[in-house]
């Protein structure tokens, strides 16, 4: 359902005010993280038609969305390490990954060992395969979008 334009404009105004108030109480680092994530979302939306890969339905899209958000916030997680591992490939497919963690392969594997013990290798391999599938599908999604464009 599409809301009337006057209602939307009120929502936008409240949104902007809320954003300013929220930014006022945030640390500079947190503000930078939000700005970085927003810039990435705009970039992704321009290329893929939606700011979130999960919404596009790409395999592993939720992992990459989370990884990009964590990376923008400087938060070390399985997802942000995975995005760091895949960063060069993701950039090639048009996904913005301006920052990446150092030694992401070893750090991700260590996290898998801590949590999954003998299953660490299987879980680690599964994550890498998800990132590769996502990157493969990204290209298709971009291509289809290009073809649909007038």
């Amino acid at each position: 359902m599409r809301l009337p334009s006057d209602v939307l404009s009120v929502f936008r105004r409240y949104g902007r005010e809320g954003g300013r108030k929220r930014a006022a109480v945030m640390s500079p680092d947190a503000r930078q993280a939000v700005a970085r994530r927003a810039a990435a979302a705009r970039w992704i939306a321009a290329r893929f038609g939606s700011p979130r890969f999960q919404d596009i339905g790409l395999p592993g899209g939720e992992l990459i969305d989370q990884g990009l958000a964590d990376l923008a916030a400087g938060h070390v997680s399985d997802e942000s390490l995975l995005v760091s591992i895949a960063a060069p490939r993701l950039r090639r497919e048009g996904v913005p990954t301006p920052v990446a963690f150092e030694d992401p392969e070893d750090r991700l594997y260590e996290r898998m060992v801590e949590r999954h013990g003998q299953l660490a290798h299987a879980r680690y391999g599964a994550l890498l395969r998800q990132a590769a599938s996502f990157a493969d599908a990204c290209r298709g999604a971009r291509t289809q979008r290009k073809r649909r464009a007038p």
Partner: protein
């Protein structure tokens, strides 16, 4: 916890595989990916060893080998992920023979293609080393990739000829000729 595979670990793995292989040989075992990088000295260690053999009987007791040496082992060959390059069978690089088992690095050109196509950070580091070490000639690599027939891509729905050539060109452009 399983150990990372170092050069020493790789030597132990070769000895154990040879010891446990069926007596009636000969067999060939190929290193793919991390195994090649570690054996060539490009990296101190790898999280796992990717192995391939055209005679699977050689891996009769691979579970025991894996547990005894506390290593991660995967079975994989580059052609699971990328189309085959012409003449791949003639380019495997001999490492050594122990008992009935001969060890090889899987065709470096096919390994390189697989790494460039996946394009993760460590893949690209290894990919540069294939060129810098002289294991792969950039001109021949480019020719081989361009010579892959379009029909070969039919088995790889995630790949297109255009995307593979684009990735290879970008990679070669990023590595200055020595």
């Amino acid at each position: 916890m399983r150990r990372r595979l170092t050069r020493e670990g790789l030597e132990s793995l070769m000895r154990e595989l040879a010891r446990r292989a069926p007596a009636r040989g000969p067999f060939r075992v190929y290193f793919v990916g991390g195994g090649t990088a570690v054996h060539a000295g490009w990296r101190e260690s790898t999280i796992d060893a990717d192995l391939y053999s055209d005679t699977e009987a050689v891996f009769r007791d691979v579970q025991l080998v894996k547990e005894d040496l506390a290593l991660n082992i995967e079975f994989a060959r580059p052609e699971y992920f990328v189309p085959p390059l012409a003449g791949s069978d003639r380019r495997h690089v001999f490492v050594k023979t122990i008992g009935a088992v001969s060890f090889y690095h899987y065709d470096p050109y096919t390994q390189l293609l697989s790494k460039v196509v996946r394009g993760f950070r460590r893949d690209l580091d290894d990919a540069r080393m294939f060129l810098e070490s002289g294991m792969v000639d950039r001109g021949q690599f480019r020719s081989l990739v361009h010579a892959i027939p379009s029909s070969a891509y039919a088995k790889y729905p995630a790949l297109s000829r255009e995307s593979v050539i684009e990735a290879v060109t970008a990679f070669l452009d990023s590595v200055a000729p020595s």
